[in-house]
Symmetry: C2
Subunit: 280 residues, 2 copies
């Protein structure tokens, strides 16, 4: 009996959420690294973006989303959004009785592990930068590390406009990243899920001596560790096929589906369902 | 008795709403042209922007806002947001029993009145352009007019970044507005409340032969007409001072207040209150 209940729990899906489509880059990494796990993804496309909104609002929205994901019997939750990780993770961990992780700590850990100069750059939304969360978490590991943060509010709309390789984007990036001139950083955290899509532009400006850190990769590793610690991992022989993953959004599904199917997920998204998130 | 009730109604405020701060440019015009009227403004700063969201979502949000404004006993409502005017006005007019106007029709009328070539350009959000509302309304007045529309999704984030006079904004504007090369338009509707703040940039590119139309001005005139028709105008001797205007938002007030006090309103905004719009 007990054993059955455990198996049911171990086979339960992972909940992942983001303010919109960006968190799919985190979902992609989780699907690659944990191929035995199924996923319930929620993108808050009706209320996107989160980056410029207040902590109270982000906590309220995140709480509604966790309540929704719990109706899908998820065994753990990954906040794939940097802003929500920065502003709401701590509160959600207090309120809910299931394991919840964000993308900040994994990103910060990778930066600390790799830096030689102990001078780390962070680019993110205004909300994330204003919260100083990366600085706080990095200082837990190395109190003497220097963290230099810069909000880049035009990056998300430029990505959504599709201007990934473009002279305008180059100029905007040059301006934002000039913040790091003569700062001697050797690591730069891409602290917003859209930013890895501008990786080439950022790399060109920052040069080869600065290591660009995408927290998605390390987040998937942290999730694996979390599932093991809580004895929640899906059995290795579990075969997950595409229809076992579920996708939900708060606005109409079309744009989300088009974006999702353009970023090289391990499979094709066939179905996206719109739900009324305000009712949770 | 009847007379008292009428006076109470005539002294009631005008409700104005927008997805965020942009609609303050419309409120400003109304305050200038109708100095005897007081205003209740709501900016949906927690769910901004509306421009890329679906019609169903915009109707739902607008409906909640009208319900809220009605608790403030407004006598009429102005939808200061182009996207909400495009996607929700018709539905709201059906559902609610008070006069509601948007910014589309006034802008379209001005364009028709002024055009000689009968070729009119419209720049707006994706939602507004996709709805083809300006084309439909212009064709009600002149079925043979040619309307050429272009979405400019980066304009709002550029304005919010404060890059009003900037080489990046120039280049982005040049690219978007190249849509109108050789199209022989003589009128261009600024179909989003943020765009008049880029007026100088747009003027420089379009040249002096193209008339830029800001629907805010004409919307205030339409509102005056509407109040007269419904016998709802405030008596001419009414003295409105700044504390009679009310401002509400769905996210924290600070940013809204800072923006509002930077755009040359007829008075200083002293108080902005945050409300839970989802509960309406």
């Amino acid at each position: 009996m007990d054993k059955n209940i455990n198996i049911e729990k171990n086979l339960a899906p992972i909940g992942i959420f983001d303010s919109g489509v960006g968190g799919l880059t985190v979902a992609r990494e989780i699907m690659r690294q944990l191929p035995n796990e199924s996923v319930v993804y929620f993108g808050d496309t009706a209320r996107v973006p989160y980056g410029s909104k207040s902590q109270g609002t982000i906590i309220k929205y995140s709480r509604q989303i966790v309540r929704f994901l719990m109706t899908k019997k998820v065994k753990a939750i990954v906040i794939a959004c940097n802003t929500a990780s920065a502003l709401a993770l701590e509160e959600l961990q207090k309120e809910f009785d299931l394991p919840i992780i964000g993308v900040i700590k994994p990103g910060a850990k990778t930066a600390i592990a790799g830096t030689v100069t102990r001078r780390i750059g962070v680019i993110a939304t205004e909300g994330t930068v204003h919260s100083q969360i990366y600085t706080k978490v990095i200082h837990q590991y190395d109190p003497d590390a220097v963290v230099i943060s810069k909000p880049c509010p035009l990056f998300v709309p430029l990505v959504e406009e599709g201007w990934l390789h473009d002279t305008v984007t180059d100029e905007v990036a040059r301006r934002y990243l000039s913040e790091f001139d003569d700062k001697n950083i050797d690591s730069l955290i891409l602290g917003c899920t859209h930013y890895p899509l501008l990786r080439n532009t950022i790399k060109k400006i920052m040069g080869s001596r600065v290591n660009l850190i995408n927290p998605a990769y390390e987040t998937a590793l942290s999730l694996r560790e979390l599932l093991c610690t809580h004895n929640l991992a899906s059995p290795l022989q579990t075969i997950v096929d595409s229809h076992m993953h579920q996708f939900y959004v708060s606005d109409t599904p079309e744009k989300f589906m088009a974006f999702g199917n353009s970023i090289d997920l391990p499979f094709y998204i066939e179905k996206v369902e719109q739900i009324n998130i305000e009712s949770f």
